[in-house]
Amino acid sequence: MSRINLMSKNIKRFLRISFALFSSQYSLMIEYRAEIALWAISGMLPLIMLGIWRESGISLALSLNKDWLTRYFISAFIVRQFTAVWVMVSFEEDNLEGRLSPYLLQPIMPFWRYFFSHIAEQFSRIPIVLIMLLLVFISMPGAFWFPDFGHLMISIFAIFSAFCVRFLLHWLFSMICFWTDRASALERLLLIPYLFLSGLVAPLEAFPDSIKTFALFTPFPYILSFPSRLLAGQEINIIKNFLILFLWGLVLILLGHYFWKLGLKRYSGMGA
């Protein structure tokens, strides 16, 4: 009995802290609405690529029809909007300016602070993304579709899982901040395979087989291509993809935790 009590107490505490972090970060984000709008617009790449793919003759040669491509890239646009991660930049800033020290004194792992600031940002992004989608569908009325409720729910869950995995990946690389003070330069390197292997600029169907196989060994297609195809209502092995996504998540959690412990020992509290 007491064990159950303790557990419910812990869960309550967790929920209370999450809510507090979320609401404080949300009000912070609302202050920077204009900035968030700009971030959202800067995620336009899939829509630009949609333009090229629709015009290009290669889509016919690969028997990818235009409606399929349109839905895929519009979904990729949505998925990208809600899987945006910038933890490396803010972690480096906090580390260099000594803000990490007070965070470490609090009885909560700094990880959650960054995590909830991302979640809060996603919520403040929703209206902007909706306006952009409205513009897209006005210029391409034939492209409009709406998934049924169950489909929508599982897609949202997939997008959220993809976000978590991408966040964990960037969190792992943020740990490099403990060893060098120019870690955010590495973020640019991390963006390269994401850009070209995730299915952001080209659907995986268009890849030559060898490169497609290679891409599927990296986490990137599961972060973007999988949730996009799910949202677009295209045929995909849901269980297998979710399993691989979770497996990546697990590996990244373990590695992230290990390097966090290792890095903390080296933390010198710069600026404090």
């Binding site: 971030w39 090229i52 629709r54 395979p193 490169i211």
Partner: protein, 262 residues
């Protein structure tokens, strides 16, 4: 003029000296350059099948476009990014005061104060891509073509600079506009491909509203000898009007500068 060249020379030699402290960066820059290059070439190759091409452009011609894009990218890394990102910080901290007090034209100072050598490899790679494009196209390059191409390239550099500068100088009103440059950068990615590969709506958007066509496609056409005089005049005209707009806009914006902190 002589004085300006001398000033810029000392500006750049000091900033190169600073950057040399971070020699580790060269590894990251080279990795990032080669990663992006392989990725772009790969993506570009996806559009080329036995009977397909990109907007009627052959593979070598597309390489020229990609090469020009890479050169512009190097220019961005070397000059635009280090300098124009600082305008935002100057406004935020009120240190723009000191810039305005210096006995030099302030737009020149904020635009050319720093030079980062890390963009140079991109410029080289861009030139190599262009040479490949010329070679595989079996082009005979005469003096006139080169002059024409260099003029177009210069215009596109001016347009690119103007776009960045206009956005960066709006920080006088909005302070935190660094993201706006991210927007610009992510849209300019469209310049990796010939403008003809886009549907007509986007093509018009990229010609008349955001002049991406003038950034890469027009110089490439000049080099490939397929440009029309009207495009060339348009490009020169657009670049000079953009440059004049930036000069006017900077003066106008400074009137609203309230100098935080002092």
């Amino acid at each position: 003029m002589n004085k300006i060249i001398k000033t810029i020379y000392s500006f750049w030699s000091t900033s190169i000296a600073i950057e040399m402290e971070y020699r580790f960066n060269i590894i990251i820059e080279i990795l990032s350059l080669s990663g992006n290059l392989i990725g772009s070439l790969f993506t570009l190759s996806l559009f080329y099948g036995p009977n397909t091409n990109l907007g009627g452009w052959s593979w070598p011609s597309s390489l020229v476009v990609l090469g020009i894009y890479t050169i512009l990218d190097g220019f961005t890394i070397s000059i635009l990014q280090p300098n124009l990102s600082r305008i935002v910080r100057h406004v935020q901290n009120g240190t723009l005061d000191f810039v305005l007090l210096k006995p030099i034209y302030s737009q020149l100072w904020v635009s050319l104060r720093l030079f980062s050598p890390w963009g140079i490899p991109s410029v080289f790679v861009g030139m190599i891509l262009i040479l490949f494009g010329i070679y595989y196209n079996n082009l005979i390059i005469n003096f006139q073509t080169i002059i024409c191409f260099l003029t177009m390239l210069f215009s596109s550099l001016l347009i690119l600079y103007s776009l960045w500068f206009l956005i960066a100088s709006t920080s006088i009103w909005f302070v935190k506009v660094w993201n706006a440059n991210e927007v610009l950068r992510s849209t300019l990615v469209a310049g990796r491909y010939p403008i003809y590969s886009y549907p007509s709506l986007l093509r018009r958007l990229f010609t008349f509203i955001l002049p991406i066509a003038f950034l890469t496609t027009v110089p490439a056409e000049a080099l490939l000898n397929i440009s029309s005089p009207s495009w060339i005049t348009a490009s020169v005209f657009v670049s000079f009007s953009f440059l004049n707009i930036t000069i006017w806009f900077w003066r106008y914006a400074l009137r609203f500068y309230t100098s935080a902190s002092s």
